[in-house]
């Protein structure tokens, strides 16, 4: 299991978003955090890999298969991209929304395997009690949990999660990251999560990628990247690294010059 993006370039007619993205070899079964300031190109990067945007050049290789040369119908089975927002007032229940993501590429009928799979996943993310609720009635955090379920229910090999924890409370952030880490290891999938919370990334990610101005500035194991001066440079802040009692890194940031 491995994943590699080489020379990815993407521009809108008047604006270059991705200059020349090289991810290096990314391992399977590990949780990878994609970090970077706002408008660094993280979402565009994901969309290009998922085939929602057509990059001007570049290769995307997943498990020795060239994704960029694959028709979209085939690619969508291997790559699961979870967009940021989840706002819908549809009269659909949480169970239906999750089931939908699993069914729409397959046959029309719902089998008991399908429903059992959805049930297990809802239990695992601790939102089974919401199964019968309409999605429009949920809070932002609950919708985000549904969105994560909707991504994980798909049998993909590569998961691209755009800010999976941005609307969650502290406890749910930890639970979701823990679950993501476990599921990634179980399925030996490649999971890349775009995030803003450095402490959460430091605690749960095995591998960090730093992105800024449409380029990957650094990519490597969590400990290496946290210790590197590129981190502070990427965000334009001062970074102070500490170790908690359990050995995990804690990142303190302050504005440079203070």
């Amino acid at each position: 299991m491995s994943f590699r993006v080489t020379d990815l370039q993407f521009s809108y007619p008047r604006k270059t978003v991705l200059r020349k993205v090289d991810s290096g070899d990314l391992p399977g079964g590990r949780l990878i955090a994609l970090l970077g300031p706002n408008a660094a190109g993280k979402s565009t990067f994901f969309r290009c890999i998922a085939g929602l945007l057509q990059p001007q050049s570049g290769t995307v290789v997943l498990n020795e298969q060239a994704l960029h040369a694959m028709p979209q119908t085939q690619r969508i089975r291997k790559v699961c991209y979870m967009p940021q927002s989840f706002a819908s007032g549809a009269a659909l229940t949480v169970f239906e929304v999750v089931l939908l993501a699993r069914k729409h590429l397959e046959d029309w009928r719902v089998s008991s395997d399908d429903t059992a799979f959805v049930e297990t996943l809802l239990q695992r993310l601790g939102i089974e009690h919401l199964a019968g609720r309409y999605i429009g009635e949920l809070s932002g955090g609950q919708q985000q949990m549904v969105s994560i379920c909707q991504a994980l229910v798909r049998p993909a090999e590569l998961f691209l999660l755009d800010e999976p924890t941005s609307a969650l409370d502290l406890r749910h952030q930890l639970e979701v990251m823990q679950t993501l880490r476990e599921i990634t290891a179980e399925r030996e999938a490649v999971t890349i999560a775009a995030m803003h919370d450095l402490n959460l990334a430091a605690r749960f990610a095995d591998h960090l990628m730093l992105m800024r101005d449409g380029e990957i500035r650094a990519s490597g194991t969590t400990a290496d990247i946290l210790a590197s001066p590129v981190l502070a440079e990427t965000y334009g802040v001062k970074i102070e690294l500490r170790r908690a009692d359990d050995g995990t890194h804690m990142v303190g940031a302050s504005l440079a010059g203070n």
Binding site: W108, E119, L122, G132
Partner: protein, 357 residues
């Protein structure tokens, strides 16, 4: 085990709850089907002429059982009208359901995008300029003209959305522009029309089932058989569309392409319905709302129930239209609006409000 624990074991298992909900929704479809069947029977049984139900039903089985007069009444008048009500209701229900889905708008109905005004304009054009000139039957020309203009609007819309990108906002805005254009053109024709022609235009626009015939039934049936299976085939994708374009795209759905294809199907249904029976409001709007209320928006249930609800509404309307004043059959378009509006308002007041954002 106490009652509380029983209740707990009863309610756990979201998969089981989902299956139970699915069975419940299947039952709902069945009930609507039975209600529709009963309504059609009564619709055929009742009408001017004071024949007993028993007589009418014998004639259904054996056309000449009670003489040629009753055969004509049942087979050439009542049955086509009753079935036309069902087919037109189903067409409007299906078209309304999918228009609301692709436009992401609860106010959308089969005629939202100017299809009805285009059809009315086409009909008026035939009435004012063509009917007395062309030799072959006037009504056929009106129907064909209405149909052609309805489809012409749909293709204009298709063209514009191809140029500009088929988001629901563009579609609605362009649809409104087309609506006003055809309304203005219709006004112009009405201004130029003679008194007799004006009356004809007004009657055409009211919507009436009395123009039903077996040929038209066959055409409606074909339109349904061509379009509805495609809608059903794309059920999952259409359900996903309600989660927003972005999310649909992440699930591998080309929202714009899907929207345009569904638009073509829905336009075909709406154009066929409007050109045969005139403008019938509210069925295509309210039918899907009833369905959404009862089974939610899983298209595998939502679409069939929208059709059944539309068909049931039309069938009941047909019944009411000849029962209010004995001997008089009111245009159904008036009845649907009169019954539809209070019903619709009560629905708005009672239903969940959060289904649209």
């Amino acid at each position: 085990m106490n009652a509380y624990a029983d209740a707990m074991t009863e309610s756990t298992g979201s998969a089981m709850l989902y299956r139970r909900r699915s069975r419940h929704r299947g039952l709902m479809l069945l009930l609507a089907g039975v209600a529709l069947l009963m309504s059609v029977f009564v619709d055929v049984g009742v009408g001017p002429g004071n024949y007993s139900l028993a007589q009418v039903f014998t004639v259904l089985a054996d056309p000449l059982a009670h003489g040629p007069q009753l055969k004509v009444i049942v087979w050439d008048l009542r049955l086509p009208i009753a079935l036309m009500a069902v087919l037109v209701g189903a067409m409007l229900g299906a078209a309304g359901a999918e228009m609301q889905t692709i436009l992401n708008n609860p106010l959308a109905d089969p005629f939202t995008l100017g299809i009805s005004s285009a059809a009315a304009f086409g009909a008026a054009l035939a009435i004012v300029l063509g009917v007395e000139v062309l030799p072959f039957g006037g009504n056929t020309l009106i129907t064909i003209n209405a149909f052609v203009f309805a489809l012409f609007t749909a293709s204009l819309l298709y063209l514009f959305t191809r140029l500009r990108g088929a988001t629901s906002e563009t579609m609605v805005l362009i649809g409104i522009a087309l609506l006003f254009t055809f309304n203005a053109l219709l006004g112009l024709l009405q201004y130029a029309a003679t008194d007799v022609q004006l009356m004809q235009i007004v009657f055409w626009m009211m919507g009436s089932l009395s123009r039903a015939s077996w040929d038209k039934l066959a055409i409606c049936f074909v339109a349904l058989v061509v379009v509805v299976p495609y809608f059903l085939y794309r059920s999952w994708a259409l359900t996903a569309l309600r989660l927003g374009d972005d999310r649909a795209a992440s699930l591998g759905i080309d929202a714009q392409k899907l929207r345009i294809r569904i638009l073509i199907g829905a336009s075909l249904l709406a154009a066929t319905a409007v050109s045969f029976v005139g403008i019938i409001g509210f069925v295509g709007l309210v039918g899907p709302h009833i369905a959404r209320l009862l089974v939610g928006e899983d298209q595998r249930f939502f679409l069939p129930l929208s059709m059944l609800a539309g068909a049931l509404m039309m069938s009941l309307t047909s019944l009411v239209s000849k029962s209010v004043t004995p001997g008089v059959i009111y245009p159904v378009g008036i009845i649907t609006a009169l019954i539809g509006i209070p019903f619709f308002i009560s629905l708005i007041l009672s239903v969940r409000r959060r289904n649209w954002q």
